[in-house]
Amino acid sequence: MSIEVYDPRGKRERAAFKAAPIPKKVELRLGVLDNTKEQADVLLARAAELLQPDRMTAVFVRKPSFSRPAPPEVLEQLKMCDLVITGLGG
């Protein structure tokens, strides 16, 4: 009598990480992703303000919770951006 044994180990498949190339455009849309921790908005807004002379127009997006990754609808809002700045730690 033969016994069929299943392998309980799962597989994790993920595309290899590759950092995005830096855009060569002159006018840039800078996504500012606020993780909702205290002062994150203030610090990120200051950075965006200082980057304005670099021809970076800021698009502010706030995610629902710092304890979870940004949901698809938040990432969708950032898709139009050329660069993103995010943080912070509290």
């Binding site: 200082l50 710092f66 700045i85």
Partner: protein, 174 residues
Amino acid sequence: MSCCMRDAGALEALGIPTVILVNDVFDAIAHATAALLDMPESYVPEHVVWLPHPTSNLTRAEAAALIDARIERIRGALAGKPVADVPASRAASGDALARAREIVEGLARSLRADGAELVLESFDDGILRGRIVIGEPSCEDASCIMPAPQLAKMIEAMVRSQIDGLRAVELVAT
């Protein structure tokens, strides 16, 4: 903080270069999350700009000053011309050898209880070198405690995320 790293990973996958402002107290978490996401070791130094913790109790003026002092790092990282940044917590802990000694002190105490002494002697060209002193002639290669190569691997796992530029740990038994 690990979620900020995950967000960066998701945005990079969408083709959007991302720079992350991170409080230096989250140094280990940022590195560990980057490793979990299969980011190269260069990702954190090139894409993270460290801020001194805490930031939540700053006045608006203090918060602005904090960013003002780091805007060139932020600008460089966004332009793909990063100025390698080291969290203040690492810089404050002195050189890499001193930092490694601090990290393995708990392990060294355990080894001392078994009559052995762990001595980290140098950090050159990315190699952290040390000795495990047994003082027992019959205990070749420290195998009565733990074989030196295995102990070296354990030390490497402990210090890897905390020591910039670490390539290997080499340990000899004497």
